[in-house]
Symmetry: D3
Subunit: 330 residues, 6 copies
């Protein structure tokens, strides 16, 4: 059983039920989610050993967050309980021509003050095959940026493959550094980068004409880079998207099938499901199969409420291999 | 800030949750709604000053109705609490090929006995720019028909622009008068009429070959008429409609974009959202922009549960201007 | 008023609300359903006298099951309360490319031990026009297989028309007999068979090249056979199917319209709704009208949550005759 | 199996969930209830044959009401579907020092216009042992007052025992008659009267010093009277009551135990549960046992949500006989 | 109609439904509450004109908070929409021997950064009779402490009566000042102080042997003080308390009845309900009646879910005057 | 950190919400529970390392059960996924004089067929301080009886303290052995027995006059017995119990305080909470403190919904030490 380590904040997710707007709701559905833990949970559901590095406030809300990671099969030995507050995000599910809406309230959370100083990296990475991070963590605070860099160095020192989802978000990066002051060092330590043209632009503060230019630059500049992965999404409406993905090796390129997602249940976490599928695929499958598996994982997540892909290997393989879908399985 | 006055009944709306049928439900979702107050609430959400004229029973159900108007930003200074009962409508949401169904239980409600005699019209219309009524009110009772006429006269006396949604409903008009005995006088006092061919036929008890004939007749007969507005809807199923609208000035005609509404959440109140958008548009925009704004407001309402459009100006402008929709706004 | 008798197990149905997966749910919606009682309930809603033969455990869960049959208009005089357990099925509603999933827990239920020895067949069939069974019952246990045979003989002895939905399910038939040891005798006693090629193959343990071969064989072999009925379904996804049906007489064939079911609410019981519509149709209409009525009933069931079609004759006739659908009925 | 006939309106009951107030609720729990049908339902749960006479509007709300009677085991053969509206009552559950509150909206309901002219009394009363009415029905309308009188005459003509719960409510009796113009004739035809001093005062428009005076008057005046039954309730708060009852024969008096009801779940229908228990008791038990059974039935109803006592004979007998209560039954 | 001004933060309140613990919940009931707005809302329900001074973040959560104030009848003209975050408090309802638990997450909220600089005090206090503040506001931040002082000066300058609920909370006061550096100046400007011995000790940083000593000190030191009010509560368990209150004038003392609160629904906001009742009482009643009204208001709040007393004047007067409680009001 | 091993079945628990009866419910709240895992979960919440031995069906229901154990902090390394069905118990919460009711449907579950043959006992008991079993497991099946005996031998072989809750249930023991054929051998291997007189009688098939006789017999007969523990419960009603406990050493006896449990939320699992508290207490405290801690744990569980005590050490210590309870903790 492969062991995977993930690092990142997990927030309390508060959503009005169904299609209600924030203005009219009288209750919130409670979930916990965060990009990197979502990636990990998808793989834990497939039987892999996934340990997540994070911090929660040492109160009942933090305990519940930790319990929910465990429920999803994640090893929480390295979850720290600290003073402070729980990061929160409010999510309103869109429908039709109305967009989904997220209000972040994560500033000054326990995680954003987490420096990981008391983590024993030998214990953390013992037996691990893969480490996954995202561009959200270094954007949160100075402490988090440093923790990300440290964790990458510790991982690579031990020969562990590293994947990173650049995931540039303009409303973060408030702590005094620009992305290009932080990200390039992290990208150098990363073997598999998930990103689009815009992410590369923002993280490197450079301009690119198209993704080919990005790709050429990246394989030249980042010596340990094995793959760049890019997803494409067309949003016909909040309820209906088309998605596909491409896996770029330095020499070869592998394209996935395209999926029509005509009745979207929950778009949040679909990129994380894709990333989980990608890591699983690169660890167990050939590149072409890996990108198909990843895209099927990302596609089917759109049907599952919450942040986390809760689908079995068989369900994903059936979808990837074009097995009849939509029938009742008895 | 423009001030708008609206007049009409607000009912208790009782709906089985989700797609349940009346026969099988064990609870009702509670909303309050009525065509004209819905029109007002959409504009109150955009920051306009909207006061609604209506009456409720003086009990906790009526107080709750009044409270809900306030929550939606409506000025309830002119809401009267009277003896009697609350008007009710039962709404079953359709799906696919199954139609939505409404059972009205509004007979003899407090509003239907409301004659408005103790309204101080100077106070009501002080500072107002617009007055909106619909053909539902005069159809309810003799008292309501007279109140509508009085309110129109009082509005026009003060130079206030008047819009009316003819909204002919065959299951009303039980109090002893035919529509054509009541409606023409009201239409004469109206500057902006929202109606289709069938509404004109029923309200005037005349026949028309097509809408062009209607339009020519109307601008000739109703001297103060500035605009006629007509919406077109194709119901592919309860879940999927196509809509568009046309604004007819005496000389010029303005057509809106057409919207594919492929995953309808709640169709009720979409005409009211359109009317609210129209009034807002005619008060603030050029005619072409106004009809686009109105149609975008009507379209996006299909995604909001309840009777009332709860969407910001920016959301509607984004849709009207073709901004990318369906992405997650963070 | 026609009287119909149905026979079969009714199970407790436990479903996570909305689109939740089993893994994540914290509550189950409770329904009761079973193929043959579903068929009966659809007809009871249309005013027919339907009595169902079944057995429940003599505890509050069994009483509730019986009460729910009564609520749906079914005559429960012949429902037995026995020792034992309630059959259960867990249902997870799929969405998009994710399939719905059923976990059966019906082994050793009160019904599976029900031999019907104390049923008074004269009372059961007094005044009855039709008897309906399905291939699920004889697959459950030796007792149930024998009860099915007995009931068919008793029905045919009294000249009652018999319909059977072969409904082959591979995960049943665990009691020591193969389908072909049991089903042929039952099919001989059946006048209207609902089945596809695969059902015939499994029940007769023979191979057929296509349905024409099936049809020719059947009318030759089963002397009392009046109609074979076959439905065709294309599953684009869990949310979107296309369906149609064909009614084969020995000489003539009648095809229904095809329906696009683009926003499926609940697929379970749609075949039963079709069967209910078929029986109603064959009792009251001409063959072409009957298959159209049946297919409309089956189609509109996809919009109703739960196992049972709760739609009026008028709703189904409107759909079958192409009346405008999807408008709000006030 | 004894057969019981009951007569009366069944209303749609709409309650905010839990302890919410009308002003703050966003949903209503849906139940159906009415005094006499509640009495019948308690007995149907005990296996008696109970048929209820009533009328509902011929729409889905009325169909659901009828279905719910059937679910509760009531024979609905004599339920009529008429034009008109469903009677409604809004119920807010009190707690502690806050009273429960009922808002009636039953005026002009289908039942209030029901004259029962097309009832075939021979069919209705065939095989019946008992007929139960309450003082609510004659208070609703002229039609209902006449229907009550007719039904009583028809029952007594056939030698059927009649019980009546006088149940005086001041907010009814709006149709032009005073209680004393209507009730005495009905009381003369009644063998078992359930009432307190105030009920007798209002129904006879006479004054009584105490219940002894009432009792003496009643047995003298009403020649067919066999029993008067009176319950006593002390309301410490909405959550905590003490109750007991006395059964007065002309010669002998039987007192029940007193019950401390310290955590009331739902007080509505507790008098009806008592009446159901009384009828059952007088049909099957000695007077002392009957009043104990009735009071235990009334007491335990306070623990059951909704209008209807859903408790088995054994549960009630256990309580009446002082069996250990409050343990978990496994 | 008296006009009342209140000042203070309103938070989003998130509670697990029923008796669930934070650790196990999957949804939060959503309310909005804050001590001073709760005081105001109780009076608005009684028909008084109440305007609340506060600030919310300018997003949908803040808009909803403002809408909810309006629903409760509060004039929101002076509510500011600012950048920043919504203050949150998580509330777990206790039961029996388990305490209720509150987790505050209000640091750095929009309100805590609100300095009120752009309030027009002439507009705010026009026509006002009373101003109410609490010791929570000056404890939040330097800006809030200054705003409180300013508002008190502005109120007293205009001859408006001022009440203050000292409400000392040890987990606030984090901004660098001790209570005794801030509170005495505010108390000097207050006419009616609600507080117990501990509040006085903490706010003045002095020691007192008993409340008599407190009282004597207070009337001597605070020249404009008219009343001190103290409530006494015995917590038998989370579900069962006994409460009473005393109103101390300089010369005379008035004690309220004591209430047994044996089935508590929601304890939060009961002190605010008491304060609302007190202000109403002092404005409309004699002192003895005022303290009885206030205590009845505080007592009955324990039966209402949410932060706010939603009870009519009549309900409170009935309770205060010993009217029968706990009966069903029809 | 002490390590505890527990063994036993965990069932799916299905309960109607609130106080609803089985007959009337339309949904079930979903929990997972079983006596021994409940014991373990209480200790896991206090930070102890608890591993549970059990088996679930290898389907999504079983996966969810396992996930829920993890959420509650239990180490699930030794949970087996097998063919078969999930054991179920239906729970109806009583209220007032109405008893709670449990319907078991656990026959032939995956656990009942679990023989534990592939457990590596060295791994299971590595580092463990305590092993806990109950009399439910050997009552389920021959396989389970043998597994219990094996586990006890393996535990004692390694010097691990063993506690057993005799927990005699008459509706189990259906597999062909009487309790006295199985239990004595298990009791001999147990150091701490939790049981009352009736349990001893049934398990030994002997008669005892009183508990003193039981105690004397037990310490004489079972050489390794260190403590017998007995709880006493008086059920005033389903909502109100009084409980206390006694810890009997061979020489000394320790009695706990008695608790009035006046507003019971959920009685299920309270004995398990007590047992968890007892094990914790005997591992960390003196005997008198241990029995007080255990009884406080058992008492406070009555306030927590579900099978499992989710209360912190501090909450239990506060209760045991008489700290003020029922106040809001902020």
């Amino acid at each position: 059983m492969k062991k995977i380590i993930t690092l990142g904040e997990v927030m309390l997710r508060l959503s009005p039920p169904g299609n209600q707007r924030f203005f009219q709701t009288h209750s919130f559905d409670v979930e916990f989610g965060g990009s990197e833990a979502n990636v990990g949970a998808s793989m834990a559901y497939w039987g892999m050993h996934v340990a997540h590095l994070t911090a929660f406030p040492d109160n009942e809300i933090g305990w519940a967050a930790s319990g929910q990671l465990r429920r999803n099969g994640i090893d929480t030995r390295f979850v720290k309980l600290l003073p402070g507050r729980m990061g929160v995000y409010y999510l309103e599910q869109g429908a039709m021509q109305r967009s989904s809406q997220v209000i972040y309230d994560r500033y000054d959370s326990s995680f954003s003050n987490f420096d990981g100083k008391d983590l024993n990296w030998d214990e953390v990475f013992e037996g691990a095959s893969w480490f996954h991070w995202s561009g959200i963590t270094p954007a949160l605070s100075k402490a988090c940026a440093e923790l990300t860099l440290t964790s990458l160095k510790e991982a690579r020192k031990r020969g562990i493959t590293v994947s990173g989802d650049l995931n540039y978000r303009s409303n973060l990066w408030k702590f005094g550094k620009e992305p290009h002051e932080v990200m390039p060092k992290l990208m150098e330590l990363t073997n598999v980068i998930i990103a689009g043209t815009r992410d590369f632009k923002q993280c490197l503060n450079e301009d690119f004409k198209n993704f080919t230019e990005v790709k050429n630059m990246a394989f030249e500049r980042f010596k340990d880079l094995q793959y760049i992965v890019k997803t494409d999404r067309i949003s016909h409406s909040s309820s209906n998207n088309t998605i596909s993905a491409i896996l770029y090796g330095e020499k070869k390129t592998y394209s996935s099938k395209s999926y029509e997602l005509t009745h979207i249940v929950d778009r949040v976490g679909t990129g994380d499901a894709f990333a989980g599928g990608l890591i699983y695929g690169l660890l167990h499958l050939k590149p072409k199969e890996a990108i198909e598996f990843a895209m099927a994982a990302g596609a089917i997540k759109h049907s599952v409420p919450g942040d986390v892909l809760l689908c079995s290997l068989q369900e994903i393989n059936d979808l990837a291999s074009g097995e009849a879908v939509g029938k009742i399985k008895r």
